[in-house]
């Protein structure tokens, strides 16, 4: 049954799945579940990568897939009001003719929903200069676990009172079920340029990233893929990536024509100074789309190389990229695994992809060890365990790596205000305290 899964494997089956179409229905369902003491798990498209929508102890899955109306598009006020089941990409499509877009663009943007994005505070390649989901949400309608409905924020900035919208975004469905979202729309840039810088050494690519940041250039996107990933992607997508390179950077700049022109020269110079073998500029929209298609389909391409893969989401200061990639190389050797590197380099948000055969318990054990080593190093370098995928059930037991008991206590107090019976999405985000530092890996 499909609803046993999001991207993380689990064997528990929900007691029931419901498909409400209105806020009133969500409220009624939640009330009913509360009176029966049943857990409630909200779910969008199930593309999550941290098990946020996985059913742990049974209960009711509230699928928001049928709440997929774009309720209002208001260009002059640069906002749109949508239901949670609306697919991310559809918002941008709906406003493209007006010259606008919705900025956050997770790789799964053609499938994932705005409701899911709000739950996870999703990012994407283009959030480097424009911010993640939380920077693009103005207001929410939320059904609380007792069935009451509240409206947080507004359809504009600065409604007086606490920023409950900012608290809800990224709370992974543990504080309430979001039934309506007012998002900010952003004007499309006049000009866009996409560059592909090719390197014979990974360290030259990471040095370029550090130099771009240090020089104060803010590209719209700055992605890195290592040679292993390049070859995998090229075989699947034919994006035109060089097969013999050690790494490439995908750089995008946007803005006024003049800005884009000048910044692209600057970027080319920085890449060349850092020993890029070549820097290629996409000459047409088609060529640009192709370069991006390769990047966005990367996880799928890996599926051709191994029965399973596990993707991580650690973040490090951008000045530590060189060190971190060296370390990932060591881990690869030490545990005898293939690890592909593809990530939002400009943000320092890594997505190491560990390849394995999930049928082999011994391999699975090694994957967990390697993943824990990588994550621990991210934290040691001053980073975080998750940049955009969320904590879910994957990393909740690792929260003590970055938060003290006092930090977690304040979070628990917040949770108990919203979700006192812990019936809403139980077992997610906060550590259970039952086990110590255990990573639950995802088998894709």
């Amino acid at each position: 049954m499909l609803y046993e899964y999001d991207a993380l494997s689990s064997r528990r089956v929900p007691d029931a799945v419901v498909f409400p179409e209105t806020t009133a229905e969500v409220s009624a369902i939640v009330k009913l579940a509360a009176s029966a003491g049943l857990p409630v798990i909200a779910r969008g498209a199930g593309t999550g990568l941290s098990g946020g929508a996985v059913v742990i102890e049974g209960g009711l899955v509230v699928s928001l897939a049928r709440m997929k109306k774009i309720l209002e598009i208001d260009i002059e006020n640069e906002r749109a009001r949508v239901q949670p089941g609306v697919v991310n990409y559809d918002v941008s499509l709906a406003v493209a003719d007006f010259g606008y877009c919705y900025v956050p663009d997770p790789s799964s943007q053609k499938a994932c929903t705005i409701g899911g994005n709000v739950a996870e505070n999703s990012g994407g390649p283009h959030t480097l200069c424009a911010g993640v989901t939380t920077n693009h949400v103005l207001g929410l309608e939320v059904v609380l676990p007792d069935g009451s409905v509240i409206h947080t924020g507004a359809s504009h900035w600065d409604r007086p009172g606490y920023d409950l919208t900012g608290l809800m975004v990224g709370s992974e469905g543990t504080l309430g079920i979001v039934t309506e979202i007012t998002v900010r729309l952003t004007r499309l840039p006049e000009a866009v340029k996409t560059l592909l810088a090719v390197y014979d050494r990974v360290s030259d690519a990471t040095a370029t990233v550090a130099a771009v940041t240090a020089r104060g250039i803010t590209p719209a996107a700055l992605e890195m893929m290592d040679g292993f990933m390049l070859r995998a992607i090229e075989a699947a997508t034919h994006a035109g990536y060089p097969l013999d390179a050690a790494a490439v950077l995908l750089l995008e700049i946007e803005g006024l024509k003049e800005e884009v022109e000048e910044t692209s020269f600057e970027l080319e110079a920085v890449a060349t100074e850092n020993h890029a073998r070549s820097v290629r500029t996409a000459r047409s929209a088609e060529e640009r789309d192709l370069l991006w298609r390769g990047r966005k389909n990367a996880f799928g391409a890996i599926g051709r190389l191994a029965p399973n893969y596990y993707v991580q989401d650690g973040v490090i200061p951008r000045t530590r990229l060189v060190q971190m990639l060296d370390y990932i190389g060591e881990v690869e050797q030490r545990f005898g695994l293939h690890i592909g590197n593809i990530f939002h380099a400009g943000d320092g948000n890594l997505h190491p992809l560990i390849l394995f055969d999930g049928r082999d318990p011994e391999q699975r054990k090694r994957v967990v060890q390697a993943a824990e080593a990588i994550m621990t190093r991210c934290v040691e370098l001053g980073g975080s365990i998750t940049g955009e995928h969320g904590v879910g059930i994957e990393k909740n037991e690792l929260m003590p790596l970055i938060f003290s008991e006092d930090d977690l206590e304040m979070m628990r107090r917040i949770k108990s205000v919203f979700n006192p019976q812990a019936l809403l999405n139980p077992g997610k985000v906060m550590p259970s305290g039952k086990v110590c530092g255990e990573l639950r890996i995802q088998v894709n």
């Binding site: 606490y162 803005g255 006024l256 940049g387 938060f403």
Partner: protein
């Protein structure tokens, strides 16, 4: 009263150490809020001391208000109890600075001016132009989520904070977020604290993502005849490919106020749009060309502002509310938050209201942001009469009719108890109240100052 104050001071000095607590009347008077003077000023030197002080304040059933330089302390209902000011001015160090990673952590007492100066040394800046300008402290800017017109391009304080340390009412220091530019681990407590006006916890450290300093900046002025022309300009601007750093519209009264320190006071009854853009020479040239075209549509002309004038205008804007309140002791300053498209219409209706009621209405609209600051004062004798509090409710209704809300940022002390600073509660009020109760069960932090004063709290006295 002095005896009790001395007891408190003795208690708190024991914890804070010599010199960090004072009951000097002058020192206390400087921290008066809405006419209420604290008995004691506490000045912790470390975050840990701040947390310990909060604990001892809670133990004694007292209440504090966290303070910086006081540029936004006027925002809030009169305190229900205010024993001690928690001055954070001495907590003003840089605790982490990684210029190559565009990240900095500072303590709350550092002023924006000092921070900008440090950042400029490495070609960086924090694109914030809050109320109070360079004098505003980082803690105060965050507590009030104070954003100026730069928000159109860069977002506000809430969009730039990567992490935070917060001293809580139970004497703990809790961390949220981190020092990396992307992080979704755990609830985003910083969002909750930003804009909570010191009612949930005391910010003792904040980490920001930084921006490269803009090479060249230019400011232009366009003089216009009507708010309709202003609306037309804003529409065309937002529909163009231009992305200016900031743009404001000043009505005639506001223009006189903001530019009064400036050489060019024309006494003109016309309105003015100020607009700033940044980039390379060719980018600036492009802006100049296109903005001239936009101005021509309104039969107006684009005038470049000189460098010094440029700085004066934006500084004057940041001080708008404080300057108005200090120049005219009867002035009431309001801040409306509105849908972007309602900005000019709100100002227009506010002016109409002023004409009917015999009030001068000075208005500054942040274009592309949806914020309008309104200064109300009586005509013809601005020094005499305090505007009737019903004016606030009337303007609030005008804002609500346009889909917005309105708060009072400055008002004469004698008027405060008769004015609703925050406006009506939403259906999320109960959740806010419970959050306050969960984090500050004894209501020791800025008691009574925010939203309906949380008066149903069980610890109220």
């Amino acid at each position: 009263m002095r005896g009790a104050a001395a007891d408190i001071q003795t208690d708190l000095t024991a914890i804070a150490g010599d010199g960090s607590a004072s009951i000097e009347p002058d020192a206390c008077a400087a921290y008066a809020v809405d006419g209420v003077t604290p008995s004691c000023v506490l000045s912790p030197a470390t975050p840990e001391q701040a947390a310990e002080l909060l604990l001892s304040v809670a133990d004694r059933g007292l209440a504090v208000i966290p303070c910086g330089n006081g540029t936004k302390l006027g925002i809030g209902a009169p305190p229900q109890r205010y024993d001690a000011a928690l001055s954070l001015r001495e907590l003003n160090r840089t605790t982490y600075y990684e210029p190559d990673d565009l990240v900095v952590s500072v303590e709350p007492g550092m002023t924006l001016g000092v921070l900008q100066q440090m950042l400029a040394g490495r070609g960086l800046w924090l694109p914030l132009d809050p109320a109070g300008g360079e004098r505003a402290t980082i803690g105060g800017i965050l507590a009030a989520n104070s954003a100026g017109p730069l928000r159109m391009r860069y977002g506000g304080p809430r969009d730039m904070v990567l992490g935070m340390k917060i001293a809580t009412a139970d004497g703990k220091i809790v961390k949220t977020g981190g020092r990396v530019v992307k992080n979704v681990a755990g609830y985003d407590l910083a969002k909750l604290v930003i804009g909570s006006h010191g009612t949930l916890g005391v910010i003792v450290e904040a980490t920001f993502k930084l921006y490269p300093r803009i090479a060249t900046r230019a400011t232009w002025a366009i003089e216009i005849d009507s708010l309709d022309a202003g609306r037309e300009f804003r529409r065309r601007l937002l529909a163009s490919p231009l992305r200016p750093m900031r743009a404001v519209l000043l009505n005639a009264s506001a223009r006189t106020l903001v530019q009064s320190a400036n050489r060019e006071v024309t006494g003109s009854r016309r309105m003015m749009i100020w607009i700033e853009a940044g980039g390379s020479a060719s980018v600036i040239a492009r802006y100049e060309r296109e903005l001239s075209g936009l101005a021509a549509h309104m039969n107006a002309s684009l005038k470049p502002a000189g460098n010094s004038e440029d700085a004066e205008v934006w500084k004057g804007l940041a001080d708008f509310g404080n300057r108005l309140a200090s120049q005219r002791h009867t002035a009431v300053v309001l801040r409306a938050a509105l849908p972007i498209a309602a900005t000019e219409e709100f100002l227009k209706r506010a002016e109409q209201h002023g004409r009917v009621e015999g009030l001068e209405v000075a208005g500054v609209a942040q274009l592309g942001v949806g914020a309008v600051e309104i200064g109300l004062s009586s005509i013809p004798s601005p020094e005499q009469r305090v505007p009737n509090p019903t004016n606030v409710e009337k303007l609030r209704r005008l804002a609500a009719d346009l889909g917005g809300s309105l708060i009072v940022t400055h008002c004469p002390v004698e008027l405060k108890p008769r004015i609703d600073v925050w406006g009506p509660r939403g259906d999320d009020y109960e959740t806010m109240r419970r959050l306050k109760e969960a984090w500050d069960p004894s209501f020791i932090l800025a008691r009574g100052r925010m939203i309906g004063a949380f008066e149903s709290g069980r610890a109220m006295t």
